[in-house]
Structure formats: C-alpha cells, structure tokens
Amino acid sequence: MKIKQLSIFLENKKGRMRNALDVLADAGFNIRALSIADTSDFGILRLIVPNPDEAKEILEKNNFVVKTGYVIAVEMSDQPGGLSTILGILDDSDINLDYLYAFVDEKEERAIVLLHPEDIDAGVEALKMGKATIIPSEDVYNW
C-alpha cells in the first residue's frame, strides 16, 4: 500500500539537481514521479523510481545523502474537485499532511496524488475507510 520514496539532499546551487538526475539516468533509472522542496539554502528532491534501494545505493556511491521514506499513491478523478475529495477524507479523520505532489498517468488516463501524512499508517487506514483507490507500488513502478 505504501510506496517507497527517495529523498535527496541538494545544495541550492546551479547544476546540483541535474547532477543527481544524471547519476540515475546513467544507471538506467526512469523516474516515475518527482517533486522538490526548496529553501534559500538547500532543497530536498523527492523521487519515485523502480528499485528504490538500488537507486539509493548508486546515489550514495556518488556522494549524495539519501533517505528512503514512504508515501501513499491515491487515484483521483481527473476533473475539478478531484483532489479536494481525497483531502476531505483525511481532513475528516483529522490527519495532517506534510506534503503532497500530483501528476497525471497518461496510459490509464487518470490523475494520481502522492501523499505524505504525518502518520502514514493512519493515513492508509483513513483512505481505505473513505473508499479511496490506493495504488499498489507494483503499479506505480510500471506506469
């Protein structure tokens, strides 16, 4: 139910993000989803890739600091109000979100949101109860 996510520390300097992405590209990793959180000094690059543990190892070999964590992938209807419905479910269960990012899965013609609640297990539980469609990791990696 939970999707493994890579978080990479980046200095807020020209070319740093590209460096990280080049390492993954050279190793043949295709990125499924990506977001970046940034401050004036540094950024955190969050990625979903197939074989995240292997990707982590390769990045670390190239001197990046990497952590793995989990997010929940939820399908939403690709029309106005789609995301709001999902957020409403979490809201009703009093679950706080740290961050989220969303994208469109063109193959399946659906929109997907990746959620990082403070308490991930409670989040999964609430979404199940609210009849949201949670996408398993195998599907995410095969987009």
Partner: protein, 432 residues
C-alpha cells in the same frame, strides 16, 4: 616509560639552575656572533652580563617572524655556514619564508626531544611508525623521523598524500604508530572507511598529531576512528620543529622540553610577562641551539603554562593545548573569533562530519560569518522543517561559543576541500 628520567623528572630548583646557566650562555653567543642580536641588545642597553637570574630574560627584546624574515636567508646563523648540516624553512605563505639552520649538535638535540615525546606516546624500538608528515623543507617529517630513529623504532617515511596507499601500508605493514595532522588523520579515516578497512583491521597503539590547530573534540574523533589514544605534538620551524612540547598519557597539557626551550607567556598587547596559568602568547627561547639561537621568539600561539609535578612523574612545565593564534584570530564585527571555537561548537552536534569551512564576507559594511558544514546521512531529514531545525541548532551552538550570530549552510557530502597537510579552514573575502 620515560626516555630521559634525569632531565624529565629533575627537581624544580635544579632545572632552574640549568636553565639559567644555559640562558647566560646562549645570550652571550647570540650577542657575540649574530649582528641582529648585537644591534637589538645595544639599542635596549642590555649586555649579556646583565642576565643574573631567569627573570632577567624579560629585559631582552622580543624577536618576531618579521625580524627573522629580514635576516633571510642566513642572517640569523651563529656559526659559519659550513657547520650547518641541514636547513628547513617555514611555508612562506605570508611572505618570504624564514630559514632555520641546524648543526650536527642541533640535530642531536632535535632527536633527543622528539625521542622523549614519542616515548610519552608509548613508542619503543618494537614499534612501526608511519610518518605522514611531509619530508622536505617542512620540519614535521624530519623531526618525527629523527626522534623515532633515535629510539630505534621502524620508520615508514611515507610523507603526506597517496592516501589509498597509506591505508594499504598501514594494514599490510601492521603500523603501530601513526603520525598525522588532525585534518589529514580524519581524511585518512574517511578513505579507510570507503576502502572497507575498519578499526579491527588496524594495529595502531597510538596516534601522534601536530602541525595544526585542534580541539579536544577532534582528538576524541581521531581516537574513536583509529581506536587508539591520540597525543599532540607541538613545535615550530623557527625554534626547531616538532618536539618543543608533547603530550604525556595524561592528555592534559604538553610537557615543554624546558632544558632546551625556555617558555614565557606574554600579553600580546602590552608585552608584559604573565604568570602561571594565565593565558597569552607563547614566547620561546632556545637554550642550547648552536646553529641559530633564537631569543624570545613571539610564536603568535595562544596558550598558558602550568608548573608542578605531573602524575606521569615528569616535572617539566605543561603547556595548554593551543587555543588560537594571534594571527588566525578573526575579528568579526569587532569580536575576536578563533576557528577552534567554531570547531568545538560543531563537534557538539551528533553525527556531524568533522569537515567545515568558515567564510567571512562584508556585504554591507557589516561582517557576515558563514559556516559550511557537510550534510551526513545522520543529519539529513526528508522534512524541510527538521533540516532547518538542524541548521538552527548548529547556529545556536556556534552562537553560544562565540557570541555572534552566524549563518550555517549545509552542503553536500565530500564537497568541502580535504587537506593533505594543513587544512584551510577560513576564507576571508572581506576587502578591508
């Protein structure tokens, strides 16, 4: 083990007598053979005969690095050049280098004081010493070399650099004593980790470190990474090189080889001599050196002296760890800041890598201090707010230590320059 018990454990009064006799002798020799001293003593109205007790040394003029530089290259030699068997120079990063000349007898003295110090670290003829100090004009390599050979230990004169080879040799030769600068030691440990060489693969009994500023926290780090006690070596090229003062197993100050080097502490503003335990600039006089006697040299190193009998049995006076240099002192918004203070603050953070760089700028007529620290897996968090919190925490530790707000920047691992010798810790971009 004590190398020279007669001297190292000598009764206080006897040592003072020996020092006075040697001081009178060196002052006389300097006055008679080195034009620089004759001129300076004459200007001050001092004659060698005026030295009647040890306190009379205070009547003698102080010698600075600039004075030595003005005598470049051989103007400070007290013997004909043909009696000089070896020369070394300071790095010359701040101008013309200063030259240090040694007679055969001086090399013997150097070997003796280093042998005493290495014995404090537990070195015997059974040991294998890997000497990563550079062999060349820098005194570090040769000083350690002479002392170790005098003891009869096996020396690996590998010098600095070829880090992977260092690790291979350390493992294959079964090195028991490692001599490093603290920053190079930490770099070696880091590379050893990458090569999969763990603490268990090494056979180190002790680590001797010198030639660079250090903090107690850095020593702990070295001890931890090499799984062996680490001891400091103090020295400077102008006086002799390493061997002027070294740490005994107490790890609480360095015993000054007082029978050869007479230490004083002065207030670097008023030039007044300070008392036992007071902190100020270290001033050294060579009591026995033949080739180039140095009278009251201002080292610019900041420390204090403590007399008494050490629990190791030695009576030689102890010098505190050097806490700064009058010239690496940064004046930030009028406040004196030493890199060692920042290092101390940084090493309070768990999981921090001991590599850092201090950058001073003056963007709008006001000094700004930036401290760059490498992110480690231990420090990194996926949450922006936690990462900002870690940065704030480091800033807070530094603020507590130096009383100034600084900006800490987390940088990617292994992006700060690693040293193979003396680390460059401060980049001052101010245009003053």
């Amino acid at each position: 083990m004590i190398w020279n018990e007669e001297i190292e454990c000598m009764a206080h009064d006897e040592l003072k007598k020996l020092q006075l006799k040697r001081l009178q002798d060196v002052v006389k020799r300097a006055y008679e053979t080195v034009p620089y001293y004759k001129k300076r003593f004459d200007e001050a109205g001092i004659k060698p005969e005026d030295i009647k007790n040890l306190d009379d040394i205070q009547k003698l003029p102080l010698t600075t690095k600039d004075d030595l530089r003005a005598a470049y290259p051989f103007g400070m030699f007290a013997v004909p050049r043909r009696e000089i068997v070896e020369v070394h120079t300071s790095s010359g990063t701040t101008g013309k280098p200063t030259v240090s000349g040694y007679t055969k007898e001086d090399i013997k003295i150097w070997s003796e004081v280093m042998a005493r110090g290495l014995t404090m670290f537990g070195v015997t003829e059974d040991d294998i010493i890997q000497n990563t100090h550079g062999y060349g004009l820098f005194t570090g390599g040769f000083g350690v070399h002479y002392g170790a050979q005098y003891i009869g230990a096996t020396v690996i004169p590998i010098s600095t650099g070829q880090t992977r080879r260092q690790i291979e040799i350390m493992k294959d030769f079964g090195t028991t004593i490692l001599i490093v600068t603290p920053s190079y030691g930490l770099y070696l440990a880091e590379v050893a980790g990458e090569e999969g060489v763990g603490r268990g693969d090494l056979n180190l009994h002790s680590v001797g470190f010198g030639a660079e500023m250090w903090t107690e926290e850095m020593r702990q780090e070295l001890q931890n990474r090499f799984n062996a006690p680490a001891y400091n070596i103090y020295g400077l090229t102008e006086i002799m090189g390493p061997g002027i003062a070294l740490e005994c197993p107490e790890q609480d100050g360095l015993h000054v080889m007082e029978d050869h080097f007479y230490p004083e502490i002065i207030d670097s503003e008023s030039m007044e001599v300070l008392g036992n335990g007071e902190t100020g600039e270290l001033v050294l006089t060579t009591l026995t050196r033949h080739g180039m006697p140095i009278i009251r040299f201002r080292t610019k190193d900041i420390t204090s002296l403590k007399s008494g009998t050490c629990s190791c049995g030695r009576t030689l006076i102890k010098m505190e760890r050097i806490t700064g240099r009058t010239d690496d002192m940064l004046k930030i918004r009028g406040v004196a800041v030493f890199p060692s203070q920042i290092e101390k603050a940084l090493l309070k953070m768990d999981g921090i890598e001991p590599h850092y760089q201090i950058i001073v700028t003056r963007p709008q007529h006001l000094d700004e201090l930036e401290v760059q620290v490498e992110t480690s897996p231990h420090l990194f968090s996926d949450e922006v707010k936690e990462l900002v919190g870690i940065k704030k925490k480091i800033e807070h530790f530094i603020h507590n230590e130096i009383g100034l707000r600084v900006n800490v920047t987390l940088v990617e691992p292994k992006t700060l320059p690693r040293s193979e010798g003396k680390a460059v810790r401060v980049i001052d971009k101010r245009e003053l």
